[in-house]
């Protein structure tokens, strides 16, 4: 090799590759530089992976967020039951995702029919180079699995809140196992697995549709098939059934916001400084806007500002921005979040008028704002088509709603999905678990 170490054109290439961490595809030139290049690239891979692991932890925190929000917004007598479901959900989610879901969602080249159903085989098997940037510049195989597995389980958790206070524990667990193992990953493969909706240019950055609506449609099926809680709609009037622990609910919303930093920020799939930090800003501003507009809407309609509504408003802003967090402008972000905050309040009131009883507002937050956020990408993001976005929304809606109706419907026809009236009155904690959440506290409720 002469005094000139490398060709100018190649230099630029290497820099670009390094930034993406694509060491595996590094040209095999016999120079000292290429080795330092490799080393630097290995470091870039390590950084990306550290970020993705951090994002994974944050998504994990969302499970605690859901557990506390749902517990806080329901009654004390069903607390053990809700906590139980939310603890078992990530366990079921991770184990089934390891067994089947991961390879169903990311089939790689193993498509079975068109780009609609694919399956990469059972279980977890480290592919060659799976812990290097050859697998992916942003993360190892293991990080990939864990990040996606944490995501998967959140879709089921969304259902948990909507069907709370009346669903049988066993029915919920069976539903979760099937939905996380099969429905969620299959649906997910259409976009994130490189399936047909991806081919069409559908954009859903971190899952307004793929996670939140997918969970929301299932929640809708559950709510319809279960019917409302006893005492919610009496003689044609809506009776509020108040949440028993608003500090818990608030803790949950803050934890969910925190988790969303990983949910959205991690969906960049690398630590790219500009991309990730931009996503964090849109995520936060949308959440903030959702809080403010939900407050105003609630203050105007309900006369007094309702804490549970601004909590929902925050989540609404987060769900709303999730589809376009990477590509919408700052003003569009605030608009999306702001509209989400209004939508969520109106739809909480609307679902009640439709006699669809959703104790925690999961339908309004995840389904309504998930749909809105996905469509908003078509409205505000340059180069995205509203029609394709709508097609995505409808396709997911149809598939998930039908699937959920079938699963819940079959169970309803066989083992039953709702606890007995007596058990519901006394509380699922005693009925399903034989224990109380707040032993010793005097709790007085006539509902």
């Amino acid at each position: 090799m002469s005094g000139s170490c490398m060709q100018p054109g190649i230099r630029l290439l290497i820099i670009l590759l390094l930034m993406g961490g694509l060491a595996g595809t590094c040209p095999a030139q016999e120079t000292a530089t290429s080795e330092t290049t490799a080393a630097s690239s290995a470091v870039a891979f390590t950084v990306n992976n550290v970020w993705m692991m951090t994002a994974t932890f944050l998504v994990f925190v969302m499970h605690l967020g859901f557990a506390t929000v749902e517990t806080g917004l329901t009654r004390a007598k069903n607390t053990v039951n809700i906590l139980f479901k939310n603890t078992v959900t990530p366990a079921i989610g991770l184990l089934t995702f390891a067994l089947v879901g991961f390879n169903l969602m990311y089939p790689g080249d193993h498509w079975l029919s068109g780009h609609v159903v694919g399956f990469g085989g059972w279980g977890l098997h480290l592919p060659e180079g799976g812990t290097t940037s050859a697998y992916n510049p942003g993360y190892t195989y293991w990080t990939d699995f864990l990040f996606q597995g944490m995501f998967a389980a959140t879709a089921a958790t969304i259902v948990s809140g909507a069907v709370a206070e009346r669903i049988k524990l066993s029915a919920y667990m069976i539903f979760t196992a099937i939905y996380v193992a099969l429905v969620y990953p299959l649906a997910g493969s259409w976009k994130w697995g490189g399936g047909w909706l991806n081919d069409l240019g559908f954009h859903d950055f971190a899952g307004s549709t793929l996670v939140h609506s997918v969970g929301g449609w299932a929640a809708l099926a559950g709510v319809i098939l279960l019917g409302p809680r006893l005492g919610k709609y009496v003689n044609g009037r809506i009776k509020p059934i108040m949440g028993h622990n608003l500090p818990l609910a608030t803790i949950g919303v803050f934890l969910l916001w925190l988790g969303w930093f990983g949910f959205n920020g991690g969906s960049v799939l690398s630590a790219d400084p500009g991309a990730v930090s931009y996503v964090l800003v849109t995520t936060s501003l949308s959440a903030g806007a959702g809080i403010i507009t939900a407050m105003l809407t609630s203050w105007i309609i309900q006369k007094k500002p309702d804490l549970s509504m601004i909590l929902n408003g925050c989540l609404a802003g987060l769900v709303g921005i999730t589809a376009g967090a990477d590509i919408v402008s700052i003003p569009a972000t605030i608009l999306i979040g702001g509209v989400s905050g209004i939508l969520v309040v109106l739809s909480v009131l609307g679902f009640d008028r439709l006699r669809l009883d959703d104790p925690v507002g999961a339908l309004s937050v995840h389904l309504v704002c998930g749909v809105w956020g996905t469509l908003a990408v078509g409205l505000f993001a340059p180069g995205k088509s509203l029609a394709i976005q709508a097609l995505g929304v409808v396709s997911y809606g149809a598939f998930c709603l039908v699937s959920a109706f079938v699963i819940f419907g079959l169970m309803k026809a066989t083992l039953g999905i709702r606890v007995s009236e007596e058990e519901e009155l006394r509380g699922l904690d005693i009925g399903e678990h034989g224990m109380e959440a707040y032993s010793g506290f005097q709790i007085f409720t006539s509902q």
Partner: protein, 113 residues
């Protein structure tokens, strides 16, 4: 004047209040209670150890009324609380020698309502 004390199932409270309202009994006091009666309890199990819970949640209602209101009040209580199942509850009636309204100092029959 009589003092009427009733123990009812918590979920019947709203119905009882409604029935009392219709009987024009507007004043009452309510406390949280635990009761042990014919209704059998249930088992709780915590970390493997079993416990029989036979003190069940009840609501205690206390109503002071003039004699003429005793029957309507009792009827309203029964109307609102009865489901026909064990655990519906009991009503106890005793004499009241006096009643005083703190705000005005009125006593007796005038103070009660």
């Amino acid at each position: 004047m009589k003092l009427i004390v009733a123990y009812i199932q918590p979920e019947r409270l709203n119905a009882v209040k409604q029935a009392l309202y219709e009987a024009e009994v507007f004043k009452l006091s309510v406390t949280n209670a635990l009761g042990c009666g014919q209704q059998k309890g249930y088992h709780e199990t915590y970390r493997g150890a079993d416990v029989e819970v036979n003190l069940l949640k009840k609501v205690r209602i206390e109503i002071a009324v003039n004699e003429a209101f005793v029957k309507p009040t009792v009827d309203a209580l029964i109307k609102g609380a009865r489901t026909g199942k064990i655990g519906d509850g009991k009503i106890f009636i005793s004499d009241l020698t006096d009643c005083i309204r703190i705000r005005t100092g009125e006593t007796g029959h005038d103070a009660i309502g």
